[in-house]
Point group: C2
Chain length 338, copies 2
DNA sequence: CTGAAAGCGCTTACAG
DNA sequence: CTGAAAGCGCTTACAG
């Protein structure tokens, strides 16, 4: 049933029905109530495509994932939060997957030209990120999950990666650890560079020399955590503490430690950054793992919120947040062996 | 730039341009080439909302997730595959999250009435699933990931859950295991019921009595795997083998075994069902875990394909597939202790 | 507070 | 093979 038919059935004009359903103020309350009730009863819903054509709004927000459409556990949480928030305003999420950064840029051009989305969410930015410049040039509104440098201000939500890893490092140093390893992400990305800077700063504060052998980078997977930790343990002077960039890396690290006949937490302290996966809790690991905790889901919800505000005209420079990260002490951070 | 302007710039009618860009046959090849080239150069893209309004197609496929928008690792993989396939045909994926089954039903009504999607993907069906009846009643095309009973035929892709767990059980029995535990999902769902039936059938084949204490159900998380396995180990007659419903459950199970001072694979054999997560490979666990392997991503791609075929008019009964599941032997399935 | 009518930007029978 | 025109189902100035 379309608007015309619905309106005539309830004896009103299409104009009035449209206004009533969109919540415009100039409709009499009784009229609105009558319209909404009838729509419910007769099952009338405005055709979304027509609405979009008429208003010029797409009613959707896009998000592009690189790497063969391989959503990881992190993307799921972000998406979950985003979706929860946008749902409330009836905004759809449009998911695209691409292979390369070039494809990703092409995807934004396409989304912008076809008016398929009103805004996009950009994630895992590089320190200097071409995609940001492109989106600004295209005039396609966007919110970044993470931070980056750019000429013009833009909306972003980031967590305090510097502070998180600095605090973890500082805490371990306080426990007497002198050789602290870090499993980091690719430092082309801002978040990994920030973490590395936090790590170095805290080492320095404590009079510890950074050792390049203890600072490794790779994907946040169980496998890479395992492999890098095996590398640490093979050193002539292995670390007494490992900071893992993610829960997945921590899983691999603990496995490598066990295989080496050592005890995670006791022989080698562990701190992991935890994006809070509902299915993998640091409390349930053995030993329970000390984490720098920052729920990705909550960030996703907030990013959705920011995107909506952006579309309502709030200036990007008013939409910039950095969230603190909490260090949660558990069982995996014992004092350094004497 | 809209169609009218673009057409006049290149000296053709909107009609011809539209036909050229949509790949209609009645346009002269040279004309088409000229149009496509000009579109590329001038950056013209049809407005997607207008296209949809005119054609009556939404150009999107919906998928709804229950449970507070909590995409798990399984949903990520399914989505990744789906997205990869649909991307090729320029079909968007619309993600909705809801709390309850009731909300999910409401979501389908809404999607159908507002013509927001052309089809939906239904997942994790119950043995008798109301949602299927609803979608059939609404006339909204759909593909089910999994199987269910229904009056009318519908499109689905499922894996051979019965065969997978039967084979795993049979293999363990062949190794001399007499007490084989199963960590299953909620048997309201078809997949879990099928697995349970496969398990029982294989036990019976081997003259083994099912023991309800060895058959437990729960979420596929590390935590639940841990807890249920601790329960198994506390039995007066604990199992010598555990079949875990997912890699997450297996992680928890192995942890519980280790904590009990036992050795996973040697003291207690492990088989896990593996949906193939790129970041958590059974080869990297210690010991490497024997799995029933079935890539969820590949299933997602195929489901996307089936949805497209459905929209092209293939009848649902021609779109029904059950994929075999491969048992991959690794290190975690040693013969039963004598 | 309500309605008639133009317009959003496409597609597609129909005519040539 | 190409084009003029109606139509898809809304929204929203404009008029009352």
């Amino acid at each position: 049933m379309n608007l015309k038919e619905f309106a005539s059935r309830i004896g009103l004009s299409a104009t009035t029905v449209s206004r009533a359903m969109s919540g415009y103020p100039e409709v009499r309350p009784e009229t609105r109530a009558r319209v909404l009730e009838a729509a419910e009863k007769l099952g009338y819903r405005p055709n979304i495509s027509a609405q979009r054509l008429a208003t010029g709004r797409a009613g959707a927000i896009g998000i592009v994932f690189q790497g063969g459409g391989r959503f990881g556990p992190h993307s799921s949480e972000l998406m979950g939060g985003l979706s929860t928030r946008l749902q409330r305003d009836g905004i759809d999420i449009l998911v695209s997957t691409v292979e390369t950064e070039e494809d990703e840029m092409a995807a934004y051009r396409r989304l912008a030209a076809s008016k398929r989305v009103d805004a996009v969410i950009l994630h895992t930015p590089a320190c200097k990120d071409e995609r940001i410049a492109l989106l600004q040039a295209l005039g396609l509104p966007f919110v970044v999950h993470g931070r980056s440098k750019a000429e013009k201000p833009f909306a972003f939500l980031d967590i305090d990666n510097f502070g998180a890893i600095a605090e973890a490092t500082r805490y371990l140093a306080g426990l007497g650890h002198r050789r602290i390893a870090l499993i980091n992400g690719d430092t082309a990305s801002t978040y990994a560079r920030d973490r590395e800077n936090g790590y170095r700063a805290a080492l320095e504060e404590n009079g510890l020399m950074p050792d390049t052998a203890l600072l490794r980078r790779g994907e946040f997977t169980d496998e890479t955590g395992f492999r890098l930790t095996q590398g640490f343990l093979a050193l002539s002077a292995p670390p007494t503490a490992v900071i893992a960039g993610s829960m997945m890396s921590a899983l691999g690290a603990m496995r490598a430690i066990r295989i080496a006949g050592l005890s995670p937490g006791t022989d080698i302290a562990i701190v992991a950054h935890d994006d809070v996966f509902p299915y993998l809790s640091p409390d349930n690991l053995v030993p329970a793992v000390t984490t720098t905790q920052s729920p990705m889901r909550a960030a996703g919800e907030r990013i959705g919120d920011m995107a909506l505000r952006l579309l309502q005209g709030e200036p990007p420079e008013a939409l910039q947040e950095v969230w603190p990260v909490e260090l949660i002490l558990r069982d995996s951070t014992r004092p350094a062996p004497a």
